[in-house]
């Protein structure tokens, strides 16, 4: 539940929302908790909300990792 996923902000939408790109999927999230975010920046997403602006290089690396590391249940 606490998992945070990095996502790139693609477009602002009405109501302090934004479209973000998570690994090719476009998702609508709220940016109310990070009002200063700019298009193209990466944010950490939790429960449909951007929680923080994160370092771009790191975000790219993590997205790469997420792609490779599918969960490995028993």
């Amino acid at each position: 539940m606490c998992l945070g996923v990095p996502a790139k902000v693609v477009e602002f939408v009405e109501g302090q929302m934004a479209v973000v790109d998570v690994d090719g999927n476009q998702v609508n999230i709220s940016i109310q908790l990070v009002p200063d975010v700019k298009i193209g920046q990466y944010v950490l997403v939790h429960a449909g909300f951007a929680m923080d602006i994160v370092d771009e290089d790191w975000a790219k690396e993590t997205m790469q990792l997420l792609k490779q590391l599918q969960p490995q249940p028993q």
């Binding site: 539940m1 606490c2 998992l3 945070g4 999230i29 709220s30 109310q32 908790l33 990070v34 009002p35 950490l44 939790h46 429960a47 449909g48 909300f49 929680m51 923080d52 994160v54 370092d55 790191w58 993590t62 990792l65 490995q72 249940p73 028993q74």
Partner: protein, 355 residues
């Protein structure tokens, strides 16, 4: 990549050189999972132990509160919206999943804003969002409440079982039975609360605290930072996860929490009642409080027979020491929440076969 490898082996070397008896606690459930998955435990010297703490929000929810939720979901006209993790948590009579199969309208959402949307679309129903989570999740729920209020939605409310982490850490540090030499502090909670609460904890209890990220490299670095402090007899609060966590935290989220909630005493599984550790709607938002709206009484905590989750959550025992672990209790047939939740220590130990 190569330099990463070198760096990891130098961190490991440092960790393996430790000869003192050291116990570190990882507070966050996501850490518990990440540590289990990475296999780090197998690389530690036997004198260095990692314990899991009270950082899985589903697991620390009191049994009485779970029973209250399940009864609420079964009331006619109620739509209960919850994060998926809660569905299989056993109550004394049944789980939410079983309640749903009996006909209760229970829906899984990814975001509390989805619950507000459900309320908009179902004006004839009472939509209740189950607010479970720490400081990372509570601001999102607070904003959903603000939205509902602004839009004049009368059929949306939240059962707030939210908890804040620092008071629970004080309980851990004050308990003479729980021996911990340093804390691997939760990365995501700290995005919101920042470093300040840990500075106080480190000072008051003389415990090193390091806010740590979730990659293997982060965790190893966090452990090394803690060991350095232990060796030097220091107790400071530091951030390893600097690329995400700022010392001041997320001020907007902190303001939102302050505006929408007030802190109240709350019951935790394993830790009991802790003052100022729960979040209740402040007066201005009272109409959104499902507890008041539906006059939900306080349910007694009836423990699940044989389940030692409470002791697991406080690091008193490891999951193996529970007699039911991997015998009567498995992820397919979980007895307690620590086996149900994706962040639960029992689930982590089972899934990644930690011996």
């Amino acid at each position: 990549m190569e330099s990463n490898k070198d760096y990891i082996s130098s961190l490991l070397k440092d960790i393996q050189a430790e000869t003192r008896e050291v116990v570190l606690m990882e507070v966050c459930g996501t850490h518990t999972m990440a540590i289990a998955k990475s296999g780090i435990r197998n690389l530690l010297p036997p004198n260095l132990r990692l314990l899991s703490g009270p950082g899985c929000p589903v697991c620390v929810t009191a049994q009485g509160d779970i029973d209250a939720v399940i009864d609420l979901a079964e009331r006619p006209g109620i739509v209960l919206v919850t994060f998926g993790d809660m569905m299989r948590v056993p109550g004394n009579k049944s789980s939410l999943q079983e309640a749903r199969s009996r006909g209760a309208d229970i829906r899984i959402a990814y975001s509390p804003l989805d619950a507000v949307e459900i309320a908009r679309q179902n004006p004839e129903k009472e939509v209740v969002f189950l607010g479970i989570g720490f400081e990372t999740t509570a601001p999102a729920v607070a904003i959903s409440a603000e939205k509902a209020l602004q839009e004049g939605l009368k059929n949306y409310s939240v059962l707030s079982l939210h908890k804040v982490v620092p008071p629970a850490l004080e309980v851990i540090f004050s308990d003479p039975d729980i021996k911990v030499d340093g804390l691997i502090c939760p990365g995501h909670v700290s995005i919101v609360i920042g470093l300040e609460p840990y500075i106080k904890l480190a000072q008051n209890y003389h415990q090193p605290c390091v806010v740590t990220g979730f990659e293997t490299l982060d965790i190893l670095e966090g452990i090394v930072m803690l060991l350095q402090q232990v060796r030097q007899g220091q107790a400071q609060a530091e951030i390893q996860y600097k690329r995400v966590v700022r010392p001041e935290g997320n001020l907007v989220a902190q303001e939102t929490l302050k505006k929408v909630f007030t802190t109240v005493g709350a019951r935790w599984r394993g830790l009991g009642f802790i003052n100022n550790s729960g979040l209740e709607f402040s007066q201005q938002y009272e109409e959104l409080d499902a507890r008041k709206k539906f006059a939900i009484p306080e349910y007694e905590d009836i423990p699940i027979k044989g389940c030692a989750c409470g002791d697991v959550l406080t690091g008193r025992i490891t999951p193996h020491e529970c007699p039911l672990f991997s015998r009567a209790c498995t992820p397919i047939n979980p007895i307690g929440p620590c086996m149900v939740s994706h962040e639960g220590a029992c689930a982590a130990y089972y899934r990644y076969k930690i011996t």
